[in-house]
């Protein structure tokens, strides 16, 4: 049996990495790096969930860790990397409303805001420091994901922003509300559908149905047939 305090220390270290990954998603221009960062972030979350299982011993947490690993670390990044290969756009250079540096400054502001907000909300509740921090990180991760959604131009980055937002929700759920397991599963199914839709839209948003088919065939997404 490992000492829970040691585990908590590790979780705290992971929190820092989660925040760093969120910052990277906001500011990185290279699409494949953004995807890698997201994968790492999801992996960190999965690890946090596993460590919490080690502390608490709830089977649900273990399941959640496994599910996150399967969907968010393997399946979704695999889909997105395929899209990235096909559309041949390597970088997302343009930003709307906010450039990377102000975005990072704003996200510091968001973390502070979540901190003060949650410390007001949880005032007087019997919640350990660790869980409080988890909630703060979760909320700020959600807000930062939203920031990504409106400040980046490319649809794939937007989708990654949304995914990272959902990571924030998961984090918040892990530490504060204990969402029922079924809801977590549903959210993950939603995410997979979202990624599929994004694939479709990212490829064919600007074309008519006929052109769309052509494009699809050319890019060989899900068809498995070589292009003519």
């Amino acid at each position: 049996m490992i000492d829970p305090l040691f585990l908590e220390g590790i979780i705290k270290v992971l929190f820092v990495f989660v925040l760093i990954s969120a910052g990277l998603i906001i500011s990185t221009r290279n699409l494949s790096s953004v995807l890698t960062t997201y994968t790492i972030q999801s992996f960190l979350l999965s690890a946090v969930s596993f460590l919490l299982y080690m502390i608490d011993g709830k089977g649900q947490l273990l399941l959640l860790a496994g599910l996150t690993l399967a969907s968010k670390v393997i399946l979704i990044p695999y889909f997105i990397s395929r899209i990235e290969e096909k559309i041949k756009i390597g970088r997302d250079l343009h930003f709307a409303y906010l450039e990377p540096t102000p975005s990072l400054l704003l996200s510091i502001g968001l973390i502070l805001l979540s901190y003060t907000f949650l410390s007001r909300v949880f005032e007087g509740l019997p919640l350990s420091r660790l869980f409080f921090f988890g909630a703060v990180i979760g909320l700020s991760l959600t807000l930062m994901g939203m920031l990504v959604m409106f400040s980046r131009k490319k649809v794939i980055t937007k989708a990654l922003g949304y995914l990272s937002m959902e990571n924030g929700v998961l984090m918040f759920g892990l530490f504060v509300t204990e969402l029922p397991f079924i809801i977590e599963v549903l959210i993950i199914i939603d995410l997979i559908i979202l990624v599929m839709l994004t694939t479709i839209l990212a490829v064919g948003m600007d074309s008519s149905i006929e052109e769309y088919r052509q494009k699809f065939r050319k890019l060989q997404i899900w068809t498995g047939v070589e292009s003519l």
Binding site: Y97, L110, L113, S114, T116, F117, R120, L143, M146, F150
Partner: protein, 643 residues
């Protein structure tokens, strides 16, 4: 028994609305107007019975939503206004049978027929409404059906503008009514029109919002501007209904509220009286300047609504002062004038419709000499003019006499300041009466007398029989209501000290007959028919006649401070520095005071605000997510109590 009459009338009006929508033929339209005629006869019996016996019918309540009943109610007040509807509708229906055939296409004819019936039905139901919710529902139906009627000739740009203006104003009216009724509901906890035993300060908000709401619809200054736009656009039969009945429905709504208040305050009465007097005065002053026959009549409606509200204001003042009999007299005056105005204004609008139809223009300056080409219409038009100018023994005289009586007896008021106020209002009221007489001398004289001023007027032919009979009905009622005014008022339960106009009319008739006979017998030589002396010019030409503008010029000079002129410059330049002049124009025109200072600034503010708001909706996903983001942040800050 009584209830059956109302159900019959409603059924007739509903089938009159539905039939023309199903079958397109002239016979259907005839049937439909026949149905509205039948309904008005049924209503006449219903209202007359209530007014005479004082027995109120009982209607069942149908619950259609929890806490909300569909229920009708009729007391003496509503019966009075139902009587008004029943008096105006027959003439309009008979007139419309022929008039509606002049519409452009078969479908428009049917639509106009159906909407007219719907409009009448809605007005009837507003008056019959048993609670505020029903009232508002039918109020909206009334507004919308009249809007569609105003827009019947929707292809012209001017009519579209008129329709839009009317739409905006009528919605403002409804918005204020909502505020008023909701605040009443909050106070009483019920949607019924019950007695309101609350202090005046609690009722101030409902009073003000209902006064504005009904005032907009009734056309009180400064909310009157939709009338002069909507009436020229609407078909004349619809103008007759709108001016004759719909404005009175607004008066009814206001009275319904006011009469249920136990303790009004003095400032209510002073406010109503002031606004009423100003409406009357401004209405007639603007009418004098007007050359469009229907617009002129619209301004005259504003004047008459002003007179009605003057009576209502007097009622409140006398009631507060504890002078019950005077209060009753003023109220009777206001109601009777409302009834009379419905009659003669619908008559005038119907005649105006005939004249406009025969000549093809609304410009008074192009009329003239119609007494020869359209003798019957001219005679009916004269009856209307005499009535509205309040000459005895017509009903206009009887109605205004009641108000004058109330004013004259106001020495019973003890407060000196109030006395001075009442005397000022009386003088303004008297001035209004005199100006109205001048206005209708001008209107009738320029339109019907002398020589035709244009080819259109010279070639005009008398309109068809239904239109003549349709106008003759209100004309006959005008005279009858005048002659039997005392009897009518006492039948309606108002025993008021009031001269018997029947006697007066007989006396007047005898005097005229005697004068005629005396002159006839003293006549020395037979009548010599020759041309008027034209100062030496060989023939008299139409341009030598009094023109409409010339006739009103002296009055315009007197009131030149009210008709302010405005100099408008418009210039275009070839360059940006505005030094090379391209073209432009300068005009001196009447200042449209209310429009330019009261209506347009808020409209512009709303427009620029809506432009700003619609620029937020830019079709970019990024911006929408940004708004959501900002909303979330705001929510976090607000719920966390961080502000």
């Amino acid at each position: 028994m009584l209830e059956a009459l109302v159900y019959g009338a409603i059924a007739a009006l509903i089938s009159g609305t539905v039939l023309p929508l199903l079958y397109r033929s002239k016979n259907t339209r005839k049937t439909s107007f026949g149905l509205s005629l039948i309904s008005s006869i049924l209503l006449l019996g219903f209202a007359g019975a209530i007014l005479y016996t004082g027995k109120e019918p009982v209607f069942p309540a149908i619950r259609y939503l929890p806490g909300l009943d569909f229920t009708l109610a009729a007391d003496r007040l509503s019966a009075g206004f139902i009587l008004l509807i029943a008096a105006v509708v027959p003439g309009v229906s008979i007139y419309s049978v022929e008039y509606v055939e002049h519409a452009k296409s078969e479908s428009r004819k049917n639509l106009q027929t159906a909407l007219t019936n719907l409009f009448i039905l809605a007005m009837l139901m507003v008056v019959l409404a048993g609670n505020m919710v029903i009232f508002l529902i039918f109020w909206e139906i009334m507004s919308l059906s009249s809007l569609l009627l105003v827009l019947h000739d929707y292809s012209s740009e001017e009519n579209k503008k008129a329709g839009f203006f009317y739409f905006v104003m009528t919605n403002i009216s409804t918005a204020f009514l909502f505020v008023g009724f909701i605040s009443l509901f909050k106070l009483t906890g019920s949607a019924e029109f019950g007695p309101l035993e609350y202090s005046a300060s609690e009722l101030a908000l409902p009073f003000l919002s209902l006064f504005i709401g009904f005032g907009v619809k009734a056309g009180l200054v400064p909310f009157h501007k939709w009338l002069p736009y909507a009436h020229p656009a609407a078909p004349s039969s619809v103008s007759a209904l709108m001016s004759g009945v719909m404005l009175k429905v607004a008066v009814y709504g206001f009275l319904r509220f006011l009469l249920s208040v136990f303790t009004p305050e003095l400032w209510w009465g002073v406010l109503i009286l002031t606004v009423g007097s100003l409406s009357a005065l401004f209405g007639v002053i603007y009418a004098l300047k007007e050359n469009d026959i229907k617009r002129l009549l619209a301004y005259s409606s504003i004047e008459n609504i002003g007179i009605i509200f003057t009576g209502i204001g007097l009622y409140v003042i006398f009631k507060v002062e504890g002078l019950e009999s005077l209060a009753l007299l003023s109220l009777a005056g206001a109601c009777f004038h409302a009834f009379n105005h419905a009659l003669f204004k619908s008559l005038l609008f119907l005649c105006a419709g005939s004249i406009v139809h025969a000549t093809g223009t609304r410009n008074i300056e192009a009329f003239g000499g119609l007494v020869k080409t359209m003798p019957v219409t001219s005679a009916l038009f004269m009856i209307g003019s005499v009535s509205i100018a309040a000459l005895p023994p017509t009903n206009g005289f009887a109605g205004e006499l009641l108000l004058y009586q109330a004013f004259f007896q106001s020495f019973a008021v003890t407060d000196p300041l109030l006395t001075v106020f009442l005397i000022t209002a009386l003088s303004s009221f008297a001035l209004t009466g005199a100006l109205a007489a001048a206005l209708f001398v001008k209107l009738f004289g320029i339109t019907c007398l002398a020589m035709p001023r244009s080819e259109k007027s010279r070639l005009a032919v008398e309109v068809q029989k239904p239109m003549l009979i349709g106008s003759a009905v209100p004309a006959a009622l005008c005279i009858l209501a005048g002659l039997f005014s005392k009897q009518l008022l006492s039948l309606a339960g108002w025993e008021i000290e009031f001269p018997d106009l029947l006697l007066l009319g007989l006396l007047l008739g005898l005097i005229y007959a005697a004068l005629f006979l005396i002159i006839r017998s003293k006549e020395t030589s037979p009548a010599r028919i020759s041309e008027t002396w034209g100062c030496g010019s060989p023939t008299l030409a139409p341009y030598m006649e009094y023109s409409s503008a010339g006739f009103s010029e002296p009055l315009v000079m007197i009131f030149k401070n009210i008709y302010r002129t405005k100099i408008v410059h418009k210039a275009e330049y070839l360059d940006k520095q505005e030094s090379l002049f391209k073209n432009g124009n300068v005009e001196i025109r009447l200042l449209r005071f209310f429009e330019e200072y009261l209506y347009i600034p808020p409209a512009q503010a709303i427009e620029s605000f809506s432009k700003y708001v619609s620029s937020l909706q830019n079709g970019k996903l990024d911006s929408y997510v940004l708004y959501a983001f900002l909303a979330v942040i705001a929510l976090i800050i607000a719920t966390g109590g961080l502000v």
